[in-house]
Amino acid sequence: MTARRVLLIEDEPNIIEAIRFILSRDGWRVDTHSDGETALAAIRTRAPDLVILDVMLPNRSGYDILHDLRRDAATKALPVLMLTARGQKKDRDLAEKLGVSRFMTKPFSNSEILSTVRELVG
C-alpha cells in the first residue's frame, strides 16, 4: 500500500518540521511548500489526500489558495485543514464560508492534529 500523501503549505520552518515529524511517524508522506502558487501547481499535477494550509503566507494568503482550490472542480472535494495563528472568530467564519474542511488554531497539540488528519482522510 502506498503511503497516503499530505501536502503542507506553511512558511515557518520550525512548524513544518514539527508537523512533518508527527505525521511521518504515523506513516504519512509529507510534501511541503512555503509558497501558495507552487503548491497549487503541485496539487493540480497530482492531488494529495489532504492539504494542510496556513493562513499567513507570503504573497497569496491561505484564503486565496482555498478559494482557488474550491473553484476548481478537480479539487473541489479535496480535504483542506486550515491552521491559523490568528484565533479570531471572523477568521474561522471566513474560512468556513470558503469551504474549509476543518479549521484549527495554533498552537495545536500533536495528538489533536494527528487525529484530525486521520479523520479527514479516513
Binding site: 512548524i15 508527527i22 495563528a85 479570531q88 498552537p107 500533536n110
Partner: protein, 894 residues
C-alpha cells in the same frame, strides 16, 4: 554788494545742495546708507520746523512782543519730550501702514475714506500756502536788503525775484522729490540736503548772535545789561495767550504736513526718535539763544523804524561785515528753501494721491490698470502738484502784497493745520472714532478757522467787508469773526484756536459715539490703536503669488480649510495649474467675494478682499488678528445663519470623531491580530516539540538535540517580541526617561557596529564610516540612539542583497541639525513599501529572513521622536537608505 554777486552765491549754494542731494541719493541707491540715515540727520531734518519765520521773524517777534516768541519753541520741545508715546505711535503706524502723508494717515485710519483725504489735503494746501508765501517773501526781502536801495523801490522787480525763487525751488523739488516712487516715499537726497541746510542756518544764527553780543553789543556784560533794561525780556502776554501759543505750536509740530513728512514718512528707524527727543530741543534752544540779544541790540544800534524782522541781516550790514551778512543771508535762505521744499513734497504727495489719482482712476473706470501706467501718472501728478503748490504760494505772495508781520501769518497757518489734531489723536488712541466723526469735526473746525482766522487775515477791508467784523454777517452779531457767539475781548489767536478746536473736538467725539463704524474702519481702527500689539516685525508682502496664498489663508479661516482649498484648487485647475494657488484674476476675486459674503456678509467680504488685494494699508498679520472682529460682525448680521452653521459644524465634528474611533478600532483589531500571530507562531513550535520530547518518541540524539534548541530559540524569539512590545508601549505613552549625556556620534556608532558584528549567514558586510563627520558632539541618550543605529545596521545586514554588501554611514549637517545617513548597496525598498516600513509589523520580505517581529523601525521612529529628532527613508539612493535626524545642537560649550 552787488545783486549779481548775491545771485551767484545763491546759485552756487543751490548747486552745492544739488550735489549733496545727488550724492546722497546715489549712495542710498547703492544701499550704503551709513550716516545718511543716522539719528543726527534725522534730528537735523526736523529743523525744518525753523523756517525763515523763526530765523528772521523770531527777532522781530521778540522786538514786538517780548518773550512770547519762546512759546513757538516750547510747544515742539514739550511734544518731543512729553508726548514721546504719541510720536512713537505715529512713526510705527506710519511704517506699518506705509503712510505717505497726514492726509493719508487720516484717510487710512477712517476706512480709506477719500472724503477725509480730500478734506485734509485741502486744509493742508490752504494752511500751507500762506506759509510758503511767507518764505518767498522773506527770501525776497533779504535779497532786497542786500541789493540796497537800488531795487528797493521797484516793486515789480521784487515780485520778479520771488518768481525766480519760486521757479528755482520748484525745479529743485521736482528733481529730488519725484525721482522715485517707492511705497515708503523716502527721499534720501532731499533729507540729506535739508540736514546740511539745518547746519548752515544754525551756524549762521549763532555767528550773528556772537557778533551781536561781543562786537555790536560791546561784550556779554554790556549786552546783558541792555537786555535787562529792555522791555523785551519781559512777558507781555497773559496766560491764556501763551498757553494757547504753546499748545498751538505743539499741535502744529505734529500736524504740519512738512513736519509729518520728515518725522514720520522719512523716518527710517524708530530709535532715531529717542535721540531726537533730546537733540531736537537742544537745536531749538541754540536757535533761540541769541534772539533776545539780537532784538535788543538791533533796536539799540539801528535807526528808528528799521524792520526788526530783518535785524539778523541788517546788523552785520550796518557794521560792514559783508561775509557775516552773507552767512546770515544763506542761513535765512536755507530756512526758507528747506521748508518750501519739504512742504511742497508733502503737499504734492497729498494732492496727487487724494485728488489727482482718484479723479484719474474714475475717468478711466473699467480700464485695466497696468502698473507702469499708474507710475507715470503718479509721478507726473506729483510734479504738477509741486509746481502748483509753489505757484499758489507765489500768487498768495503777490496778492497779499507781502504783509510785514511774519509771525501773524505763521500762527494762522498753525491754527488751520491744528484742526487735524483731534482726528489724528482720536484715530490712534480711540477705536471708537469713526469716519463720520472725523469728517464732521474737521469740517466744523476748518469752517470756523476760515471764518475767524484765515479770512480776517486779509485785513478788515480784504475779503470780508469791515461791517462783517463789527456787526457780523447779515447783521448776525453772534457770528462776528473775532467775537464768535458773543465772546468778546479775547486775543484773536486765542479766540480762533479756542473755538475752532473746541467745536472740532466736541463734534468729532459726539458724532463718533453716535455713528457706527464700517467694517473697514473697524479693521483699520484696530490696526492703528493696537499698532504695538500687532506689528512687531510684521513684514510687508508683494507679488500675486503671495497674495493668492494670503487669500487662501483668509478664506480658510472664514470658510473652513477643506472648502477653501477645494475652491482654490478648483480655480487653479480651471486655469490649467496644479496646486492651490491660482492666479488672482478679477473673475476669481468676484467669485471668492460671493463665497465669502455667504459666511461673513457682503460688506465685510468686500472689505477684506480689498484689504488683501489693495495691499498697502493693513498687513496680513493684522488682518488675521482682526478676523475676530469679523466674528463679531457675523454675530450682528446673521445670528441665525451662524447657529445653523454651528450645528452643521458640530455634526461634522461628531462624524469626524466617529470615523476616527472606527479607524482606531480597526487599527486596534489589526494590531491584536498581528500580536496574536506573532505570539502563537513560536508557541506552536514550542508546544509541538515539547510534546514530542515529552512523549518519549524514539529519535536520534541529534534529533533530540535539535528539537531542544528549536524550543530554546523560539522562547528567545518570544521574549524579544515581548520586550519590543513593552518598549514600544512605553515609548508611545511617553513614559520613557532619557539619560542624556554628552556624546560624539563616533562613540555611539562604535557601540552599534560592535553590537552587530556577530557574523550571520552570507557574506560579511563592509561598513564605511565617516570619522571626520562623526566628531560631531551631541547631547542625547546614548543607549537609545545606539538602539536605533543597531536596528539600522542589523536591518542592512539582514536585507542587503548585494554580492558584496556594503553600508555607508555618513554624517552631515542640514539646517543646523546633524543627520546620519545609513545607505547600503542592495536593491533598496520598493517604493510601495516605503510608506509603511515604519508601521508596526510591517515587514517587506518574508518572515524567515527578518527574524524579528517587524517592530524594529517602529521602535526606531518612536525613539527618534522622543530624542527630539526623526528618522526617514531616503528614496533614490541606489540601495536602502535611512536618514536619522538629530535635534539641533545646543551650545558647543558642553
Amino acid at each position: 554788494m552787488s545783486f549779481d554777486v548775491l545771485v551767484t552765491l545763491c546759485l552756487a549754494y543751490v548747486l552745492l545742495l544739488f550735489a549733496v542731494a545727488f550724492w546722497a541719493d546715489k549712495r542710498a541707491a547703492r544701499g550704503r546708507m551709513g550716516w545718511i540715515r543716522s539719528p543726527a540727520v534725522y534730528t537735523l531734518s526736523l529743523s525744518i520746523y525753523c523756517t525763515a519765520w523763526t530765523f528772521y521773524g523770531a527777532v522781530g517777534y521778540a522786538a514786538r512782543s517780548g518773550m512770547e516768541f519762546v512759546t513757538i519753541y516750547l510747544g515742539p520741545t514739550l511734544v518731543m519730550v512729553g508726548w514721546w508715546t504719541v510720536l512713537r505711535r505715529l512713526v510705527r503706524i506710519g511704517r506699518i501702514q506705509r503712510i505717505t502723508s497726514v492726509a493719508d494717515l487720516i484717510s487710512s485710519r477712517y476706512g480709506k475714506s477719500n472724503l477725509l483725504g480730500v478734506l485734509v489735503t485741502v486744509l493742508a494746501v490752504v494752511g500751507t500756502t500762506p506759509y510758503i508765501a511767507l518764505q518767498l517773501q522773506s527770501v525776497t526781502l533779504s535779497f532786497d536788503v542786500f541789493a540796497g536801495g537800488g531795487v528797493r523801490a521797484d516793486g515789480d522787480s521784487l515780485t520778479q525775484t520771488a518768481l525766480f525763487i519760486a521757479g528755482g525751488l520748484a525745479i529743485f523739488t521736482i528733481v529730488f522729490g519725484t525721482r522715485n516712487l517707492d511705497a515708503n516715499e523716502r527721499h534720501h537726497g532731499v533729507v540729506t540736503a535739508i540736514a546740511v541746510e539745518a547746519v548752515v542756518k544754525l551756524v549762521a544764527l549763532l555767528a550773528v548772535g556772537i557778533f551781536v553780543v561781543f562786537v555790536a553789543g560791546g561784550g556779554a556784560g554790556a549786552t546783558l545789561e541792555a537786555i535787562d533794561a529792555s522791555e523785551i525780556s519781559e512777558w507781555h502776554a497773559g496766560p491764556a495767550r501763551w498757553m494757547t501759543m504753546i499748545f498751538l505750536s505743539g499741535a502744529a509740530f505734529l500736524c504740519l504736513p512738512r513736519m509729518f513728512q520728515v518725522m514720520v514718512v522719512e523716518n527710517s528707524d524708530e530709535r532715531h526718535l529717542a535721540i531726537a527727543s533730546w537733540a531736537f530741543p537742544l537745536y531749538l534752544f541754540l536757535m533761540s539763544l541769541f534772539v533776545v540779544p539780537i532784538a535788543v541790540v538791533g533796536l539799540d544800534v539801528l535807526p528808528e523804524g528799521a524792520n526788526p524782522d530783518l535785524f539778523v541781516l541788517t546788523i552785520p550790514l550796518a557794521y560792514d561785515r559783508d561775509a557775516l551778512a552773507m552767512l546770515a543771508f544763506l542761513g535765512g535762505f536755507s530756512s526758507a528753501t528747506s521748508m518750501v521744499i519739504v512742504a511742497a513734497i508733502a503737499l504734492s504727495t497729498m494732492v496727487s494721491n487724494h485728488i489727482v489719482m482718484p479723479i484719474w482712476l474714475n475717468a478711466r473706470k473699467g480700464g485695466a490698470t497696468v502698473s507702469g501706467d499708474v507710475r507715470t501718472v503718479v509721478i507726473q501728478a506729483r510734479r504738477l502738484s509741486i509746481a502748483g503748490v509753489l505757484a499758489l504760494g507765489y500768487l498768495y505772495y503777490v496778492f497779499s502784497g507781502g504783509g510785514t508781520a511774519l509771525a501773524a501769518i505763521g500762527l494762522i497757518s498753525f491754527t488751520g493745520l491744528a484742526q487735524v489734531l483731534p482726528a489724528m489723536l482720536g484715530g490712534i488712541f480711540w477705536r471708537g472714532a469713526t469716519r463720520a466723526g472725523a469728517a464732521a469735526g474737521l469740517s466744523a473746525g476748518f469752517a470756523i478757522w476760515l471764518w475767524t482766522s484765515f479770512l480776517p487775515s486779509f485785513g478788515e477791508a480784504g475779503l470780508l467787508s469791515a461791517s462783517v467784523f463789527t456787526d457780523g454777517p447779515f447783521g448776525l452779531s453772534l457770528l462776528r469773526p473775532q467775537a464768535l457767539f458773543g465772546i468778546e475781548g479775547l486775543d484773536p489767536v486765542v479766540h480762533s484756536v479756542l473755538w475752532s478746536l473746541l467745536v472740532n473736538a466736541v463734534i468729532f467725539c459726539l458724532v463718533s459715539v453716535l455713528t457706527f463704524p464700517t467694517p473697514v474702519e473697524r479693521l483699520q481702527g484696530a490696526a492703528f490703536v493696537n499698532v504695538f500689539r500687532y506689528s512687531e516685525g510684521a513684514p510687508g508682502w508683494t507679488g500675486s503669488a503671495v497674495e493668492a496664498e494670503d487669500l487662501l489663508m483668509m478664506s480658510q479661516r472664514l470658510l473652513g480649510t477643506a472648502e477653501a482649498q477645494l475652491l482654490f484648487e478648483g480655480e487653479a485647475a480651471g486655469q490649467g495649474k496644479s496646486g492651490y494657488i491660482p492666479d488672482v484674476t478679477p473673475a476669481f476675486l468676484e467669485k471668492l467675494e460671493r463665497k465669502l459674503a455667504g459666511s461673513v456678509g457682503a460688506a465685510t467680504a468686500h472689505a477684506m478682499l480689498l484689504q488683501i488685494t489693495g495691499g498697502v494699508s493693513v498687513t496680513v498679520e493684522d488682518l488675521m488678528k482682526v478676523a475676530d472682529e469679523a466674528q463679531q460682525i457675523l454675530e450682528y448680521s446673521s445670528q441665525l445663519e451662524a447657529k445653523s452653521q454651528e450645528l452643521g459644524r458640530t455634526a461634522r465634528q461628531l462624524k469626524e470623531a466617529n470615523d476616527k474611533l472606527v479607524a482606531l478600532s480597526v487599527q486596534k483589531d489589526g494590531f491584536l491580530s498581528q500580536i496574536s500571530h506573532e505570539l502563537r507562531t513560536p508557541m506552536t513550535s514550542i508546544r509541538s516539540f515539547s510534546e514530542i520530547l515529552m512523549h518519549g518518541e524514539t529519535m536520534t540524539p541529534e534529533e533530540r538535540q535539535r528539537y531542544s534548541s528549536i524550543i530554546h530559540d523560539e522562547t528567545i524569539r518570544l521574549t524579544r517580541l515581548l520586550d519590543d512590545l513593552l518598549d514600544l508601549s512605553v515609548l508611545e505613552n511617553g513614559q520613557v526617561t532619557l539619560n542624556e549625556a554628552d556624546w560624539t556620534l563616533e562613540a555611539i556608532l562604535d557601540r552599534a557596529v560592535a553590537a552587530t558584528e556577530r557574523a550571520g549567514p552570507g557574506p560579511a558586510m563592509t561598513i564605511d564610516r565617516d570619522r571626520a563627520g562623526e566628531r560631531t558632539r551631541i547631547r542625547t541618550d546614548g543607549d537609545r540612539l545606539a538602539q536605533v543605529f543597531i536596528n539600522l545596521i542589523a536591518n542592512a545586514q539582514k536585507y542587503c542583497d548585494a554580492d558584496a554588501p556594503r553600508l555607508r554611514i555618513v554624517v552631515r549637517e542640514r539646517q543646523g541639525r546633524p543627520v546620519v545617513d545609513f545607505m547600503d548597496n542592495g536593491s533598496g525598498i520598493p517604493q510601495k513599501a516605503q510608506a509603511v516600513i515604519f508601521e508596526k509589523f510591517a515587514r517587506v520580505s518574508d518572515h524567515r529572513a527578518a527574524g524579528g517581529a517587524g517592530l524594529g523601525l517602529a521602535i526606531c521612529r518612536e525613539v527618534m521622536h522622543r530624542l527630539g529628532g526623526g528618522i526617514a527613508y531616503l528614496p533614490g539612493q541606489g540601495g536602502a537608505a535611512f536618514r536619522v535626524t538629530l535635534p539641533r545642537r545646543q551650545a558647543e560649550a558642553a
